[in-house]
């Protein structure tokens, strides 16, 4: 298992909602817990992953995610079991959309 932590400043969008979870910790999948948090405006993402050694890819995926949503005062926690970047991005977007009440 590997743990990765990211912190992004300069977001603007706050999500004033109860915590949400999307996804399941099954093979090739992940669960994403998204919560409001007092972080001085920052967005913190903590990843616990079974796939070891993919730091740079996680970094790039998280940066693109933050660029899409510009979240502030948000904590995202991930339990990952080997999902590809495509699935990671999908779940992250689903998590935010659920907070925004946009899920189909």
């Amino acid at each position: 298992m590997e743990t990765l932590n990211y912190r992004f400043e300069q977001g603007q969008r706050r999500l004033a909602q109860p915590p949400q979870v999307v996804g399941v910790v099954s093979s090739g999948n992940l669960e994403v817990l998204i919560e409001e948090a007092a972080l001085n405006g920052a967005c913190e993402i903590k990843i616990s992953t079974a796939a070891v050694g993919f730091g740079p890819i996680w970094q790039a995926v998280m940066q693109d995610f933050q660029q899409r949503w510009q979240l502030a005062d948000t904590r995202i926690s991930i339990n990952d079991m080997g999902a590809t970047p495509a699935v990671v991005s999908l779940r992250l977007d689903q998590a935010v959309q659920t907070m925004l009440g946009e899920a189909p």
Binding site: M1, P19, V21, V24, V25, S26, N29, E31, L33, E35, S48, T49, A50, S77, N79, D80, M81
Partner: protein
């Protein structure tokens, strides 16, 4: 809902969201509480924030019910220490709060072997807690329709409930197919013969054998309605006893003895269904649910 939502394809939280009255599910120990397994980290295995089971209360057609839904995707829904404790706590709280009923959405391979004794103890505590809940007069309904089925200790837990509702896609058993093949040989049971596995442990056979009392199509709305009907049926005056009674146990024993006497020597469920008097047993697996229920009416056990 305008179209069927597959219970099989939905995950635990989706089932909870769609089965109970809209927006009524209120979770105890939600993922944000991070009550996770104390064991898996040491084994370098991933954890789930809810340890693979969501528990809480909800309304079912206005009735206050307590509920748990196991996530089959996480470790096959297997029961570890925390997962089991959540189920036990839920069952005890249902008694304390005098819930109208408990609805368990079971999808599990049984004991989480990774957690060894803690898992074993957890499952046995769930059995005891379920029977205590029944003893307090609160009906327990189990729904089995996920791809992992209800096996091992959770198969036993399911049969401790008042009513088991299954879809034909669901499976209910104790030993898993691979275990039977390993122990008794492929001639006895070929675990790769999926048609045989479902013939033996799937909802239709269980319904015919009296191990499940209601069978529905793979649709969350159908499971919802069956749970409502089952609870209503148990609160009628002429209903069977909610607490386990000696009489009920003796009836169950008689049914089991009859099953062995009538079917024990037969090699395949197709032979069993033929012996039961099902017309065209080979067509049973392809029948849609309504015609199947109609055909089973006069011949199924435990009716």
């Amino acid at each position: 809902m305008s179209h069927a939502v597959s219970y099989l394809e939905s995950n635990a939280r989706e089932r909870l969201r769609l089965l109970f009255d809209a927006g009524s599910f209120e979770e105890f120990l939600p993922p944000a509480a991070r009550v996770i397994s104390p064991h898996l980290g040491q084994l370098n295995a991933p954890v789930a924030f809810d340890d693979g089971v969501a528990v809480g209360r909800a309304r079912l057609n206005g009735m206050p019910v307590y509920t748990a839904a196991q996530e089959g995707g996480f470790m096959g829904g297997a029961v570890g220490e925390v997962h089991g404790a959540k189920l036990v706590g839920l069952l005890r709280r249902a008694v304390r709060d005098q819930a109208k009923a408990v609805v368990l959405l079971v999808e599990s391979g049984g004991v989480r072997l990774h957690e060894a004794n803690a898992g074993l103890i957890a499952v046995s505590e769930v059995m005891r807690a379920l029977l205590d809940t029944r003893a307090a007069g609160i009906p327990v309904i189990v729904l089995v329709g996920g791809s992992n089925g209800a096996f091992g200790g959770m198969g036993i837990v399911s049969r401790c409930a008042n009513v088991v509702v299954m879809s034909e896609e669901g499976r209910l058993a104790m030993s898993g197919p691979e275990v039977i093949e390993t122990a008794n040989g492929v001639e006895e049971f070929d675990s790769r013969d999926r048609a045989l596995v479902w013939r033996t442990t799937g909802g239709k056979h269980r319904y015919l054998m009296g191990d499940c009392q209601r069978i529905v199509k793979d649709d969350v709305a159908a499971f919802r309605q069956a749970a409502i009907d089952a609870i209503n049926a148990l609160t009628r005056p002429s209903a069977p006893s909610v607490p386990l009674t000696l009489e009920a146990l003796e009836q169950e024993q008689a049914m089991l003895a009859e099953r062995i006497a009538r079917f024990g020597a037969l090699p395949d469920p197709l032979d069993v269904w033929a012996a039961q008097g099902m017309a065209q047993p080979q067509r049973v697996p392809m029948l849609e649910i309504e015609p199947f229920i109609a055909a089973a009416q006069t011949v199924r056990m435990g009716a």
